[in-house]
Structures are given as C-alpha cells and as structure tokens.
C-alpha cells in the first residue's frame, strides 16, 4: 500500500467518525477485530492490565447501541469530534495485510448543555491500524489508539476514537 492510499483510508475513516456515521464506521472492521485504547501504559498487555477500551466486535456493537440510547447520560449533550491525522507510515506485511501508524489529534466538544463553557478537549494519540484485505476491500482488523495522556487524569472518554 502506498502512503497516499493509506492516508485516503484513514481520512475516510475519520470522516465517518466526525460526521457521526458510527454504523458505517463499524462496517470498516473485520468480524474478529479489536478496538483498543490502553490505560496507563500504551505497551501494556491487555490480559494483565485494564484498558479504557478493549472491544471485540460484539462489545463495540453494544458500545454503539449505548451511544444511540437516550439513557447514555455521559453523552448528554453528545460529543462531536474532529480527527486530525498526520505522520502516516505504512508497513506492508503479507499480501493481504498492512500496518499503518499515524498520529491523530482528536478535538472533542459538546454543545448546548446546561453547564456553559464546556471547554474544547484535545486528545493527541498514537494510532496503529492493522488492515486486512477481505473480498477486495481493506478492513480494520485491529485499531489501537494510544492516548498521549493515557496515564493522566481524564474525565471522560465516552466518544469514539
């Protein structure tokens, strides 16, 4: 995969996230994919250490269902995000596999709450996507979002990264 193709893939993924098309975003993943946001240590072993998010596709599906629910009080008002992507690197693997590394700066904002002046939040992160080609299309088999402040005090991460 060329870098320009990798960038196109990551930009289109970000466009889905940033326009709230969560269910279309979900379709980018393979059935056996993992969506991982480590806590404390970006290199921790998820079987030895808690994560913020360690979703298989069943749990990701539940997560999206929660975000659609009127009872997700942590998302009232709902987050909107802007994913700014840079530093894209491509590591081609076997025929149908490729690893993408990128930096993402996620801006997160919630508008129109009773509590005014909700500050714009920024979450810089190192991203790793492992893509696999299925039926001629690149799919995400693994997405890791290692927040720069993954060991810091964080109030809320209930939006999609």
């Amino acid at each position: 995969m060329e870098r320009s193709e990798a960038e196109d893939f990551l930009y289109s993924e970000a466009r889905l996230l940033n326009s709230g098309k969560n269910r279309e975003w979900q379709k980018l993943f393979t059935e056996d994919a993992i969506y991982w946001v480590p806590a404390n240590d970006p290199d921790s072993d998820p079987e030895e250490h808690v994560s913020y998010i360690y979703d298989d596709m069943e749990l990701l599906n539940e997560r999206l269902g929660r975000l659609e629910s009127e009872f997700c009080f942590a998302q009232q008002p709902a987050s909107t995000t802007l994913h700014q992507i840079s530093n894209v690197e491509v590591e081609n693997g076997a025929d149908n596999e490729v690893t993408l590394r990128s930096n993402v700066l996620i801006f997160e904002f919630r508008n129109n709450g009773q509590q005014r002046f909700y500050p714009l939040q920024t979450f810089p992160a190192f991203c790793e996507h492992r893509l696999r080609k299925e039926a001629g299309e690149w799919k995400i088999a693994y997405k890791k979002v290692a927040l720069l402040n993954c060991d810091g005090e964080i109030q809320d991460l209930t939006f999609l990264m």
Partner: protein, 419 residues
C-alpha cells in the same frame, strides 16, 4: 474530640440524620473544616501493602491536600511521611511509585532515608554550629499508622481517639470476604491499572455514590441492558428484597449488590478456581466469598468495589479526584484475573458503560447545589423502617439509604464532637 479551627458552624445541625445541608457540598469554610477535623485527624486510607512490597519501595499520595510518601524501610516497617523537605519545603519525592535508598531534595541536596531520617545536608560547612540540628530535621511522620489485611491507614496530625481496630469494627469481616477470593488471601493492588478520574463535584458525592443502591436501574440502563443480555439470570432479582445496605459504624458502610446462588457461582467461575478456594479456606468460607458481592466504604476516602480499591481525594469544595486501582487475586488461574480485568473495564473507567454516567450526574448535582436557598439534600429513604441487627449494624434495604446516611454519624462526631 476537640475540634480545631474557629468555625462557628453547627455541624450537628448541618449534617442531620437523613438530611445534609447543601453548604456541606459547596462552602470553602466547611471544606477547610473537613480537612482539619476529618482528613488530618482521623484514619485515612493511604496504600495497600502490595503497592510497596519490598524494602526501599515507596509511593506518593495525598492525605487531604497534603502530599505524603508511603515507604517501606530496610526493616520492612512502613512509614507515612509528609513529602516536604524540612529546609525550604520542596517535595523530596516526585514519582508516583518507585524504589530507592534515599529521597534527595533537588534544591539543596538534603537527603532523607526511607524511614525519614535526615542523612545528609548539602554543603554542610556553610552552617555554623547550632544552626541546624540534623536529628530534628527528618521528614515529619504521620501521628499514627496501622493496617488491616495489608490495607494501610494513617492519621496525619494527631493520634485518633479510636484504634484502627475500633474504626473498622464489623466491616473487617467484609474485607475478609474480599481477600478470601484469593486462595492465599492476598491481592495485588494497582499493578494491573489505575483509572485516574477527576470530576466536578464535592468529595462526599463519591463517598455516598460508591454505595448507591437506588440509582442503578435509572442511571445504568445501558449497562444493565448489556449485562442482562450477556449474563442473563445473574441479574435476576437485582431490585428485589433480600439485599441490604448496612451502617457498620464509624462512618463505614456496606451495600450488597448480589448474592449469587451456588448455581450461578458454578456457571460464573471454573471448577479449578472454586476448588482452589475451597481447599484454601474450607467450603463454607470459600462459597461465602464467591456468592457475595459488596460495595463498601471506609469513611472518609476509601471504598472497595467488585474489582477495585477506590480512593477519593478532595481537591476543593467542588472538585475531586477518584483513583480506581484494579485488584488482581494472588494464586489463581490466569483466566480468573483476565475476567476481572474485562469485567472492570466494562463498568468502570472513563470509556466504560457505567462509571461515566455517574460522574456526569455528579457534575449535575454540584451544579444544582449552587442553589443554596434550597437548603437540604435528602438521604432519608427508609429511615423509618431501618433496623439494627445482632451485630449492631443499622440495616435497610438495597435501594434505601441506610448506608449513605452512615458517614454522617461519624461526620458529626469528628466535626462537632457529637456522638
């Protein structure tokens, strides 16, 4: 107990049984009195043994707003000391955790041993005789340190008027149940992760909220929905009677979340794990531990929930930091601890299906408390049917508020000297 400070507030009236005055959640003067009379002069959680297992190990934490070091010296003795160089006041340790032979102040090279002794002064010849007494300038120790089952508590400025044993009282047996989930009776705290969670709200909202039996079916609709589908029958009877809240004395309290049937215990955990526990503790004690699930609060700043030690740190009248230290069981098959990790992630933590809804609501409560012309917060649910059991605990039903009223008896005792 003599209450220091000049406040003329009548805390016996402001912290009534069943009603708390809104100023307890908003007033800077009340907050300062709480630091002076509760956080600095009574038993406060500081650490668990497993965080500093070897000589020379230390962690830094806070008692109220005061930075402290919890260290283990070469004789295995644990020290709780104010993290402040005796010369000009800089903290002498700037790491969350670590290990070493001494704490060195980077300003003038004063060096302190793990037991606080002042070992060396930078450029000592600049001091004339009589200007500095090295023996008197060790780090300042907490007035009293004690522990139960590896859980370390300290009282910073004064020896408390009750021993730790008296402070813990009936809640010790609940701690024992928790430790019995390990065949060796030991747990490892925080090595498997810590969620560091600030929220916009007074610290007592979390103290009360850690044993909230009333809110779950309203606040945690999305989490319970998933749990119901994934766990099925395990949630049956969630809101029915048979589960209780307890006030075990001295502000401590317990909320029963589930009492699993033996059938559910066997569905939930492997034969290998259950047998390990039965061999270690005997079948009765092992099954008691496996069937039970509690949330418990040890007033003022500590809670144990299913997979976590929860530590509450007040930052201001309206800001709090909560740390959720994940706990691993010693001596169990790996899949038991993996399960504890996945289950913990599901409900707690900033991206989880449960906790974020609570913290969002805590912020909304604090927002509502700005209306101080509406003076009272209600915690009187079940007050007229509350009973006392044979052990002396006050008892109410799961969704009543016995357990959340519990802290305010101790609050009045420490703040106003009223029993």
């Amino acid at each position: 107990m003599n209450a220091p400070g000049k406040s003329t507030r009548d805390y016996a009236d402001l912290a009534r049984t069943g009603h708390t005055h809104v100023s307890l959640y908003t007033s800077p003067e009340v907050y300062q009195d709480e630091l002076d009379r509760i956080f600095y002069r009574s038993w406060v959680y500081v650490a668990h043994d497993s965080e500093i297992p070897n000589p020379g190990d230390y962690k830094t934490t806070y008692i109220g707003e005061i930075p402290v070091i919890v260290s283990r010296d070469s004789n295995d003795k644990i020290h709780v000391m104010i993290n402040r160089c005796m010369h000009r006041g800089a903290t002498v340790c700037n790491s969350e955790t670590g290990s070493g032979e001494k704490f060195v102040c980077p300003y003038h090279g004063w060096e302190f041993a793990p037991d606080g002794e002042l070992l060396t002064i930078g450029l000592p010849r600049g001091y004339n005789e009589g200007e500095v007494n090295q023996k008197e300038l060790g780090l300042v120790h907490a007035a009293k340190v004690d522990s139960y089952r590896g859980i370390i508590f300290a009282s910073l400025y004064e020896v408390p008027d009750i021993t730790l044993d008296e402070k813990l009282g009936n809640i010790k047996e609940v701690i024992d149940l928790y430790m019995n989930l390990s065949p060796t009776g030991k747990i490892i705290v925080g090595k498997s992760g810590v969620y560091k969670h600030p929220y916009h709200g007074n610290w007592k909202i979390q103290t009360e909220g850690s044993v909230e039996g009333y809110h779950a079916i309203f606040t945690h609709v999305t989490a319970l929905d998933v749990m119901q589908r994934k766990m099925g029958g395990h949630l049956k009877g969630f809101t029915t009677s048979g589960l209780h809240g307890y006030d075990t004395g001295h502000g401590n309290n317990v909320l029963e979340i589930y009492k699993h049937s033996d059938e559910v215990v066997h569905e939930r955990w492997s034969k290998e794990y259950i047998e390990l526990l039965c061999d270690a503790h005997g079948e009765t004690a092992a099954m008691d531990a496996l069937r039970s699930r509690f949330n418990m609060v040890i007033f003022p700043n500590f809670a144990i929930l299913e997979y976590q030690f929860r530590v509450i740190r007040p930052l201001s009248p309206t800001e709090t930091e909560v740390r959720l230290y994940h706990t691993m069981l010693d001596g169990v098959p790996k899949e038991v601890n993996v399960r504890r990790i996945r289950d913990h992630e599901f409900f707690y933590g900033q991206a989880s299906f449960g906790g974020p809804d609570d913290y969002s609501i805590f912020g909304r409560m604090q927002e509502g408390y700005k209306a101080d012309t509406v003076p009272w917060v209600y915690l009187n649910r079940g007050i007229n049917t509350e009973t006392t059991d044979e052990k002396g605990n006050r008892v109410g039903d799961l969704t009543q508020e016995t357990q959340q009223r519990a802290p305010y008896y101790e609050y009045r005792r420490l703040m106003a000297g009223v029993e």
